[in-house]
Every structure is written in C-alpha cells, then in structure tokens.
C-alpha cells in the first residue's frame, strides 16, 4: 500500500525546506499534509518531522491502525501535547515550525508560547507539484470524473430531481473509488445561476440547463470537472453565453505553461468574458490547484503572482451566472507539462 520511495523523497524535500528556513523540525497538524507524508488517511493524528527522525502522535483509538499502515515514523500513543513536549525535550529539538493556517487559534497560541515558529505554506508549496505516484492517482481520479460526466448526462431527464441524479452518480463513484471528491453539485434551471448550489429536490425541466460539478477520490486524490448540459432545445441567450464561457476556458487553457503566473491564466479567461459584457457575472476565480484537497495552491485568480510549474495540477473553470435565470460553467482539470498542459478530465 505504501510506496515508500516516494514518501522518503517527500520527506527529504521537506527537510531541505526546513534547512533553508533554519528550522530543526516541523509540526504537521493538517489531515492532508499528514497524509502526504504517511499515505495513511484518517483524521485525528499529527506528524512531527525532524531533520533526522520523524514521529506520529496518535490517540489510542487509532494506534493499532496507524502502526499497521505507516512506516518511517515512530508512533507515539497518547495525548498529543505531553507527547510533543516529551519528544522535543528528549531530542533537544529547538527551532520548530508550524503552519498557522492549518491549526486552530487555541493550539497555535499554545505552541507560540512554547517558542514554536509560525511558518505558513511550506508543505503547501511542496504539495503543489505532484510526483509520479500522485499523478497516477490524479489521472485515475480525473478519468473517473469524465466517466461520471457521461454517466450522469444520460440520467438528466425532465421530471427527475437533482438529488436523485446526484445520488446515482455518487453510487457510481462510491463503487469504483474512495468516493466523491466533494458534495456533488447538480444545479438545474435557475439553480445553475448559483455557482455553489446545494443539490435539492428541484425537478429538472426541458429547455433548462443543468450544471454538473462532480469529482471522485482515488486513493486520497480528488478530481474536479464541471459540465453544463442543456436539457433539450434551449434558448439562444443560453447558447450565446455557453459559447462565451467555452471560448474563455479555451483562452485560459492556451495560456498554461511553466513560468507564467496563475493570474495571467485568469486574465486570459476573464478578458473574453469581460469583452462580451459579462465581467460582473463571472463571480469567482478561474481555477485552483487540486490534489489531496479539492482546493490547493495555486489560486488562479486576478493578480495571482505564483508561477506555474511543470507537475502542477490545476482547474480552469470560468463561468457566467445570470441571477435568477441561469448559469454556465465549464471546468477541466489539467496537468502543467514542460511545454504547455494536458487535460486530465477525459
């Protein structure tokens, strides 16, 4: 289950970052950050990585399981805080960093009092560029999302509820993978004008669009794909908006290559929409990184300065939302390649 060469490389990469930041250890309090280094995904245990050794702080409830499913760490059973103090004292570890965005204020304040140093984003940066093991999982998760889009498209019918279509699609994903990547969005008719609609008992109608924002999880890695399907014959105004969003997505995708800023991909997509007079109706960023979490570094929003790197996996998902009437969003997930990009959601 654990592909330890990859895990060792990830740990060595973090140690390099620690040395650059003059840190002797880093405390990992975020479920996804811990999973990245252990390949064992469950809530409730923390990782502590020093320059030589590494530990997991595990409550009794999870101890047997965690010991069985991890390697390269010493598992310490018991209450987190005393265990942490014991290890830092016994190994004389002094300069310890933690991510201030990945733990609650109470814990962060207690660590700060102990002399721990807030250093945001060290693991976030590492996780943004996927290694071969991660890419394999991302490819499978995104391929499954594409199969899911075909599956759900056939099940969109006038009179059917959003909920029932979403339930069938979730079943499709649950049988074939670790499950859904997020609460699947099936937004029909006027609901399509809410970018983050909560799937409801609304019955689909002929002549209305249905936005399907879907994804599966394969070995802990998530996929993300959106299609806007028209149900039967649909208005010319919808068709016009659809073509604008399609063009915007295309322009965004064409801009992707290593070295360009995340903001410039947003700009390329947004300019198409602005030019057609729908700038105010595009109410979110053009995209985001995706991996263990559904939203990861980098954010592809206005002015984002982060440079794209080969190996990043990002979404491009412009949308136009006409309040009370309808919306269109088209989203694919792409791998940044050395010379451009590759669409994974197919």
């Amino acid at each position: 289950m654990v592909s330890s060469p990859f895990l060792s490389l990830r740990m060595e990469a973090l140690r390099d970052v620690l040395r650059e930041n003059k840190l002797e250890a880093y405390l990992l309090t975020n479920l996804s950050d811990v999973y990245y280094f252990t390949d064992f995904k469950t809530e409730g245990y923390y990782a502590f990585i020093g320059l030589q050794d590494a530990w997991l702080f595990v409550p009794s409830l999870l101890f047997q399981q965690t010991k069985a499913h991890t390697s390269g760490f010493e598992c310490i059973q018991g209450t987190f805080f005393p265990s942490l103090q014991k290890v830092t004292k016994a190994h004389k570890i002094k300069k310890i960093g933690f991510d201030p965005d990945q733990l609650d204020y109470s814990l962060g304040a207690a660590l700060k009092k102990m002399g721990f140093i807030p250093k945001r984003g060290l693991v976030t940066q590492l996780r943004a560029v996927k290694d071969a093991l991660e890419l394999d999982r991302m490819r499978r998760a995104n391929h499954l999302a594409a199969l899911g889009a075909d599956f759900v498209k056939k099940r969109l019918k006038p009179g059917r509820t959003e909920r029932s279509a979403a339930a069938d699609l979730a079943h499709f994903f649950n049988k074939k993978s670790d499950g859904v990547a997020f609460d699947l969005i099936i937004a029909a008719g006027p609901h399509s004008s809410h970018p983050h609609h909560v799937t409801s008992d609304y019955k689909m109608k002929a002549g209305e669009p249905v936005i399907c924002d879907i994804g599966a999880m394969v070995e802990g890695y998530r996929s993300d794909l959106t299609r806007t399907f028209p149900l039967g014959r649909i208005s010319p105004s919808f068709q016009r908006v659809f073509r604008i969003v399609e063009k915007a997505q295309n322009e965004g995708i064409c801009r992707i290559k290593p070295g360009v800023t995340a903001g410039s991909v947003d700009e390329a997509a947004r300019n198409v929409i602005k030019k057609h007079g729908f700038g105010k109706e595009f109410v979110h960023s053009t995209g985001h990184g995706v991996g263990i979490d559904i939203h990861e570094h980098p954010r592809l929003g206005p002015g984002a300065k982060d440079k794209l790197k080969a190996g990043m996996v990002i979404t491009v998902e412009p949308g136009i939302y006409i309040p009370g009437r309808f919306g269109v969003r088209i989203e694919d997930t792409l791998l940044v390649t050395p010379f451009g990009s590759e669409i994974l959601t197919r």
Copy 2:
C-alpha cells in the same frame, strides 16, 4: 425553508450569553455555528451577531444564494476582513468575542491584534441542547439510520467487499436525505478491531463479524448508529465479547438523566468492560453529543464533568477491540429526557 421563530430564539439566547459575558458582539467562523443561526449550510461565509443587529460576510461567489436563503441578517458582499472592520467601526462595536477553537491561528492572531476577545464554546453550549426544530430533524435522521442498518444487514454476504456494501448504503441515504453523516464504516473480519477502519476492498467471510458504523444527514443534522453483525456461525469468544459490550451499553444508557455527569455514563459502561478484563481493549470514550456536527459537546469520556441536560442528544457506544482478531461496538443515539432517555436510532 427557514423556520424563523426558532432562529430568532437561538439568536436571542446567544445575545443573553453575550450580555452575561459582557460582550457586544460575537464573530462566528465555524460552518456549523453559522448554520445554526442561518439555516443555510454552505462553506465560506461568516456571521457576526451584535446585541441589536446581525450581519453575514459573504464572498461574491455565494452572495445571491446567501441573500435568497437567509433572513434576519444584513448580507455584506466582499472580502471578509475589510467588511468586518467597516461594520465594527460604523456601529461602534468594541467588545467582540470569537471562538479560538473554531478558526485558524492566522485569523485568530489578527483578530486578537484588533482587540477581539477569545471566548470558547459559547455557541457550543447553546447547540448542545436541541430545540423542537432540531429534534424533528434528529429524529428523522436517526430513524433513517435505523432503516439503513436493516438495509445493509441484508447486504452483508461472504465474498462481498466492504466497499460495495458501503456504496449501496450511501446510495440508500443519498436518495432519502442530504446524504451520509460521515464516511460510512463497514469493517469486516480483522478490520473490526480498528475502531475507525477505512472501508476497503476486503471481502467478507463467513464466521467473521462486520461492524457497520453508519449515519445519514437530514436537513443538516446527523445521525450515528453502530451495529456489529456476525456473518453466519461465529466463535464463542466473539459471542462472549458481544454480550459484554451489550451489557456495557445498557448500563451506560440506564445512567442517563438530567443532572448526572457525562463522565458517570462513561464510568457505568466502562466498569462492565473492566470487570470482564477488557479495560485496555476499550480504547475510546463511551459517547459524544451529536447534531449539526457528528462530534459535539458533551464528550462522554472518563472524568467528564459536564452535566447532562434534557434536550441533549448523545451517543452511547462502548466497544472492545482485540488487535488483529476482531472488534465489537454497539452504538445508539439518545435524547436526554426530563426523567431519563429515549433511543432515537430505531
């Protein structure tokens, strides 16, 4: 959709708590806390409740939706931090509390710098006692969990994978409700010895037990129920352990009434298990509150001093886990009534 009399009462209850704590306003940064006051559940927006007025800070992405689905709040569109500063300045609000356990260290530190006061658990305490609207949802969610237990029991068969049984049950819940309350646990054979097993492709075998830890979500409220089903004829040692856990659960349940401590319920259940020599194999608390979140106040663990109150909804779920061999857990969700308790998971 919104039952505003209940929401107004909840807000008035919080205002009473604010006055007791000499606060003029409270910032709500936790999804479930915000939902409690708005009845609109979606990630990404915050609530700010003063003694007279109340506001929601909403990103553009969610603005139309939030405005349409909430009442009793002024919705403010835009970036959170500047919006918050504007409101506190315009309304001259000074003594503002926030929950240090419900936001990240970065945000907490920024608020602290602005003079905000960390005050934990004000909403947690309110949420622990359910009102009639909440109880209606909890009853339906827990009844659905009981139906789910019957549904999945019929689908546990030698040769079937844990994953396929879990997928069918999730489909059952997804069609009838907002979905699953948490990642459903189907833990067969030796996996049953891991209290928080991650459902896998393991194939069930005759003569082995299967732990099913399941729950559904009805209008944002979660249910929680565990059954341990033997697959065909099963060993006397399993039967013995099963009867001990059953007895422990019974003893715990019999102890429940308003005024007793949460710890005494744990003690009653734990003593049965200890007496039979399995104290070390009961590696978790006896139960927890449940509602909008799957784990809520109070915790029913050793020494917990919180007193039970009528209207609390709690689980009683002792377990015995023999590493590498098998485990047994039996869990029901109960309402604390004026004179005892009522099992909701039936």
